[in-house]
Subunit: 357 residues, 2 copies
């Protein structure tokens, strides 16, 4: 079967070297071989997250990772600030409310984003807030926070606010420094820059986050505690998804070899090239300014569904449509995954041609 | 690398046809293609579980599946009966207690099992019990409940007791009929008879179980509700582990083609052959009677660790040691997975030789 070109913002195409890693013979998880492998995996994850602390490997998708972190690191009724500006950040607000957190929301329209001043204003007016969930890049719109500024400023003024970052569509894609910026817990998923099948997710736990875990919650497979204390011994509390983690390790090796800036630069080049092309073809970038992870765009007066369908059916190029309230109003193209300039050019060429007909 | 012979009771060796399925090009999960695939997957799961109701696909291992079911289907303080007779059933007792259920435990020594009379006695004396968690086969000892008798008798006398079954080491391995026996929710994991990498788990939801799910809990990714209501539309509430589910579908196709009794009979033949051989070599089967899924055994006066290590290092045959309080006291060999008479004979021959030296 001819492989399609996948330019959706995840799940991305899984390259052969990852599949080969997943196919390696299984090892038992109570063995020195596993311990050795798991130690190396954790080192690779630390590089990927740019942290010297622990990164926990879990089964699940991005949403599970964020919910693992929220339910493990926040306490019932804790006052938590969650800015929402798209489908995923809205999801964290809803989960926070339904799971018994005292959520303060900064609600912004789809396509816009929250800035450091708005966040500090809310913190100044609500001294009881001790937690925050930030969506670095809203996959539903491409809007991307100025995370370095927000995290550094908040930590400078409010050291005790625990900062959790959904970096699902930014880690390995655009510059990200967990420790240097001061993020306490960061979440990344397998099916984005890590080039793996959906099904594993990773949560970093810095010292302030670790102090909120507890050995009394070790029986709960949906609490980070058991994974954290086991990881200290390079062990896993349950049957780990070892073969899937082989695939992750292969991708991490690639990040360690080529170094993160290689990927960050590639994303930026692809985003710039694609946006110039869309603008030249009469399209509009949405939002503006957008982060580099993906481009959301539209062509006024054109049937976006037709562009989407023709790309898919006639050219075997898969991009994404809008989500939530933007369904039918934008298209989205990712600048990460197992793709490069060739795929991006083919996509842009296809769009330009469809637009002109 | 030469593939080892894996005779541990999971994770099992993943055969090539499963890896090939996992390697198929990714499809987006909001598409008619996914809907079609997911519908077929669910049909395959229904056959595998022998149920006409819904089977939910989740990321995680067996423990996550059982905890998903327990936290979604039981209410806080609900009186739940959990017989314990090994490491895994003990885990469900501990999780039940720590998660706020009112647990009544029937505690039996490792290697023994609970029978229908003991269960009915407890139910007769505690009319408030409305839930039960049964571990069909204790992977830590091989002890296997007479599930048909227990479930049928309990349902005949106590229709309102919701029966949950950990069938992680029995579905696809020994005879199991969810609907005919009356089990309300049954759990199976990918890395046992389904021949897949660890990381996905499946929970069936019969009508009585479904009536305990709620649309008000749709925000919780660790509650079965959102998956259940989405599955009714052949959809998935989050990014599904699509490629891993391709692997599961390939295994299910194999079960549908060869039919379940083929696998049940194979397990029985392998277990009988292996046990006769162990007895002939002077070994003792533990417990007696054991279920067919795996054999736990020992050789009085012999160093079991040495048998385990020599099999692994000299013959590349991997079996399992004891778990929990049986660590160092038994060895365990599985009669399921990507194995047959050849591997079982090689293992038995290896053990006999090591014993004689």
């Amino acid at each position: 079967m001819k492989s399609k070109i996948i330019l959706t913002p995840g799940p991305v195409r899984v390259p052969t070297f990852v599949i080969e890693a997943i196919s390696k013979p299984v090892i038992h998880h109570r063995s020195p071989e596993f311990e050795f492998f798991f130690k190396e995996l954790q080192e690779g994850l630390r590089y990927f997250f740019q942290t010297s602390h622990t990164v926990i490997s879990l089964s699940g998708t991005g949403t599970h990772g964020v919910e693992y972190a929220m339910r493990s690191l926040f306490r019932k009724n804790e006052k938590v600030l969650i800015p929402s500006f798209g489908k995923f950040s809205e999801r964290w607000v809803e989960y926070g409310k339904s799971s018994g957190l005292n959520v303060t929301e900064i609600q912004k329209p789809y396509g816009s984003r929250v800035n450091v001043k708005e966040i500090l204003d809310v913190l100044d007016r609500n001294p009881g807030i001790t937690g925050m969930v930030l969506t670095h890049c809203e996959t539903s719109t491409g809007a991307t926070l100025d995370l370095e500024e927000i995290v550094s400023e908040v930590k400078r003024k409010y050291k005790n606010v625990l900062i959790m970052v959904d970096a699902i569509t930014t880690l390995g894609i655009i510059p990200f420094y967990s420790d240097a910026w001061g993020a306490d817990s960061v979440i990344a998923a397998s099916q984005k820059s890590l080039l793996n099948p959906a099904g594993t997710v990773f949560v970093s736990v810095g010292p302030a986050a670790a102090s909120r875990l507890s050995e009394t919650r070790m029986q709960d497979a949906f609490d980070l505690s058991c994974y954290y204390f086991a990881a200290m011994q390079n062990a896993y509390p349950y049957t780990p998804p070892t073969q899937l983690l082989y695939g992750i390790k292969a991708a991490l090796d690639c990040f360690q070899e080529k170094k993160l800036p290689f990927f960050w630069n590639r994303t930026h080049s692809l985003a710039r090239f694609f946006r110039e092309g869309i603008s030249a073809a009469g399209g509009k970038i949405f939002p503006d300014p957008a982060g580099d992870s993906l481009t959301a765009f539209l062509f006024s007066g054109k049937d976006l569904k037709e562009i989407y369908t023709k790309l898919k059916d006639e050219l075997s190029i898969e991009i994404a449509e809008g989500q939530g309230e933007l369904k039918g109003k934008i298209l989205r193209v990712a600048h990460f995954g197992d793709i490069g300039m060739e795929e991006t050019k083919l996509c842009l060429g296809g769009i330009s041609e469809i637009i002109q007909n």
